[in-house]
């Protein structure tokens, strides 16, 4: 365990000046209103990125994403958010390319964490990345028509660019585009398609380059080489994730993650939605920790509202912040017990540890339900606060004290939970699992990810910290009231499955510690407002960009939002991108699995703790 004090970093402006001195005209500060960082000439992008990593300490690429500025300069822009693992704010690096022949050099050799993110930009925006060794579609299937995140690409049920649609509001005569679709379905075929195009090429590229023959002899023992598809329907993949695995006997030779089976177009829908309409959608990203997803999005939009000095906006009150932290840390607890329970499931201890975990989860969910109205999809936070104060009383069905009491005073309920029930549960779980022989033999030394590799691959959250890197957004780039709270950043040493397990156990203890600091302050602030703003429907005025990041239970969750000035644009995000920890943490999966047995893949995947709603978005 180590406590990490963020080093007071050079400000972004200073950094921009330093870069300009060194690279001259290649680097220009981004001077559009409310935009940050530098725009780099794309021919020199790799040089600048290498210098940033090697000479200035920006070793961590948090997010890389593309924006389509159709009608605003008609170019694509790749946006990179670079951080130092020693802490401090971001340096935003951008590179632009014309829309017709869109190419930007790949940064995979500088930060290998760019791998999946560049593939995503290729898939959804159609930008080519020369230098990328494996540039193919990642979320949609090979053969799909077009690049759906481009602004001029319209989906089958397209009605208008922005919600609320004119024909629903305010007049309310409803005409839905789906009623006019000749197929009666959500499909759209390219113009000029012929029946000869009706064939499926989506599977071919997964097997490209793999030697498909069996009976290949290896060394002394004759083993067969096999290609096994694990998933998309497989009980161990925690959803609809698929891995194409080449096996020599039982040992993993190559592993290719295949995703997109739950790609439900979060970002495209998000760009049609008004700002506040995205809040319930963020619940459905990492659907186990909806509260902290809300928090990240609220931070991103609040930041943008501050930049624009929106009238009527006021920052969250103290009580609102306290309630947010209460919810977020409880969510972290829920997420970690869930993930440990199911890690044990993957180890073969079928369902019993998970049942222990679910029992505690239900009790917390009862509180969430009382506060927000829903067990899982809480939709609780708002820009400038939370939706509602926590209720006076809870009618909980779960049995907290004994069979009879079903109607609790909320603070009493929370006190029992925070000071007795959850700490006791941790000790019990600890006693049952931590020195358990099965856990030790199956987890120690399995799925090792060294620290430098974890940083290069942009791993985040417990995966990064288990590899010995004390990087926690709550400390490294603090937000909300975390600076006032006392807690430790838990790290591991070996970066194996067991360390990830230990880090999660430790973080649950820290969460309880935080909750115990928040609880008395909640009692003190009773009666204060939780929402200071005038209206729920912000208009962004002059536009701009903003990146809101939080330490989600699964890792760093970031929201990159861009707004364009003008009456037609400022109600909706122009670009809405989610930096999903579950997605980027998978970059290291093959590295971790190579050389291990098939049964270990399941465990390693379980220890990364992915949720498909977030991986595929």
């Amino acid at each position: 365990m180590s406590d990490q004090a963020p080093e007071i970093a050079v400000s972004q402006e200073q950094m921009v000046r330093t870069l300009q001195e060194r690279f001259g005209n290649v680097v220009k500060p981004d001077d559009r209103g409310n935009f940050e960082g530098v725009i780099v000439d794309r021919d020199k992008l790799v040089d600048v990125a290498t210098a940033l990593r090697d000479d200035y300490g920006y070793d961590y690429l948090s997010s890389a994403t593309a924006v389509d500025y159709l009608g605003f300069g008609d170019h694509f822009e790749m946006v990179y958010h670079c951080y130092k693992t020693t802490g401090g704010p971001a340096l935003v690096v951008k590179a632009q390319t014309p829309r017709d022949v869109a190419t930007i050099p790949s940064l995979i050799n500088v930060w290998s964490g760019a791998d999946f993110q560049e593939r995503e930009a290729y898939d959804l925006m159609g930008i080519h990345f020369p230098g990328h060794p494996n540039l193919k579609r990642i979320l949609m299937w090979e053969g799909f028509d077009g690049h759906p995140m481009r602004k001029d690409w319209h989906e089958a049920y397209f009605e208008e660019e922005h919600k609320p649609f004119d024909n629903r509001h305010p007049d309310g005569w409803v005409k839905r585009s789906e009623e006019y679709n000749p197929f009666g379905r959500n499909v759209k075929y390219p113009q000029g398609m012929t029946l000869a195009d009706v064939h499926d090429i989506s599977e071919i590229d997964h097997y490209e380059g793999l030697n498909l023959g069996v009976d290949i002899e290896y060394g002394a023992i004759d083993t067969d080489r096999l290609i096994v598809n694990m998933g998309p329907h497989h009980p161990s993949t925690h959803g609809v994730f698929r891995m194409v695995v080449t096996l020599d006997g039982e040992t993993v030779e190559t592993l290719e993650p295949v995703m997109g089976y739950l790609h439900r177009n979060h970002e495209k829908i998000g760009e049609r939605n008004a700002w506040i309409m995205n809040m319930p959608f963020t619940d459905r990203l990492d659907y186990i920790s909806s509260m902290s997803n809300n928090h990240g999005y609220a931070l991103a939009v609040e930041h943008l509202m501050e930049k624009n000095a929106i009238r009527g906006y006021s920052a969250p009150t103290e009580r609102a912040e306290l309630i947010r932290i209460l919810m977020v840390e409880m969510t972290r607890f829920v997420n970690h017990i869930w993930s440990i329970g199911f890690l044990l499931n993957d180890l073969g201890a079928f369902f019993t540890p998970a049942l222990y975990a679910i029992e505690e989860r239900e009790i917390i969910l009862d509180f969430f339900e009382a506060a927000s109205g829903s067990r899982m999809m809480c939709n609780y936070m708002r820009f400038g606060g939370v939706y509602k104060d926590i209720p006076e009383r809870i009618r909980a069905q779960a049995v907290l004290e004994n069979d009879i009491i079903r109607d609790f005073d909320t603070m009493q309920y929370l006190r029992t939970l925070i000071y007795e029930r959850l700490p006791r549960f941790i000790e019990e779980y600890d006693r049952l699992l931590t020195r358990n022989e099965l856990v030790l033999t199956r987890c120690q030394g399995v799925g090792i990810l060294p620290g430098d590799m974890a940083i290069a691959m942009s791993a985040a959250g417990p995966v990064l910290r288990a590899s010995g890197v004390p990087y926690d957004v709550r400390r490294a780039d603090p937000y909300s009231i975390y600076p006032e709270l006392e807690f430790d950043v838990i790290t591991g040493t070996n970066g194996d499955v067991y360390d990830r397990f230990l880090v999660r156990m430790g973080e649950m203890r820290e969460s309880i510690r935080i909750l115990q600091q928040v609880f008395p302050r909640l009692e003190e602030t009773k009666g204060q407002p939780v929402f200071g703003m005038d209206s729920y429907v912000p208009r962004m005025g002059n536009g701009g960009e903003s990146y809101g990041r939080v330490e989600n239970p699964k890792g760093e969750l970031g929201y990159y939002v861009v707004s364009m000035p003008g009456k037609d644009y400022d109600q909706n995000p122009w670009r809405y991108h989610v930096r999903a920890p579950s997605f980027i943490n998978l970059t290291g999966l093959e590295e971790m699995c190579k050389g291990h047995k098939v049964a270990d893949i399941v465990v390693i995947l379980g220890s990364i703790d992915i949720v498909l709603g977030e991986t595929d978005r």
């Binding site: 979320l139 299937w141 053969g143 799909f144 028509d145 759906p148 989906e155 089958a156 049920y157 397209f158 789906e178 000749p182 197929f183 379905r185 959500n186 499909v187 759209k188 075929y189 390219p190 113009q191 000029g192 398609m193 012929t194 029946l195 195009d197 009706v198 064939h199 499926d200 989506s202 998309p232 329907h233 497989h234 009980p235 959803g239 609809v240 997109g260 089976y261 739950l262 790609h263 439900r264 177009n265 979060h266 495209k268 829908i269 319930p280 959608f281 459905r284 659907y287 186990i288 998970a354 049942l355 679910i358 029992e359 989860r361 239900e362 067990r375 899982m376 999809m377 779960a398 709603g613």
Partner: protein
Amino acid sequence: MTTGKDHIDLRELHNSEIPLPDGLQNNVALTTLSQLYNWGRARSTWPLLFGLACCAIEMIATAAARYDLSRFGMEVMRASPRQADLLIVSGTVTKKMVVPIVRIFNQMPEPRYALAMGACASGGGPFKEGYNVVSGIDKFIPVDVYVPGCPPTPQALLYGLITLHRKMESSSLNNINSVPWYGRGPSDEIPLPILGPDIIDPRQTEILRKEIESFNASMQEMQAEA
């Protein structure tokens, strides 16, 4: 049929039209073969261990201790479609995923049932307009029960399952048309969708052909005008 055990309540099996002497009420049941058959099937429905999205989490919560699916004889979730009776479609069905789902459904032996859990599986839900989302699994496989909600609470799912049990109990061996599997021979396989430029349902090729023809005709007209 007699039994001394308490935990099988023979009264629920007994055909109420036939009167029984008082002393025999919980020891003897007179019933029809259909009823006996359906009773057995409804009380040991094995769902497929198959989660899709957020709704799957609530499905797991339903199976856990608090809501306890095993009260209905359903706790044996099978990971193999060959051993499962019930497909709970628990989440958003994407175009990419619908191909495996149809394949899995085809692999399930009859009698088989499908339950659409949540708004997404029933009709597309919040993600309906997405380019990769199928607006409801019933476009591809026949659905027996729809459970609304986003996600449905475990109680709602349980209610859906009880509704399904009722449906099972109402099918009859006498009427071979009441359900496909009481007829002769297996029912037809559902054709696998094709992932072309967009998803193509082989059952819709006729419409597709017509669309292409009308498009070509309009192109020719435009050329003629020009």
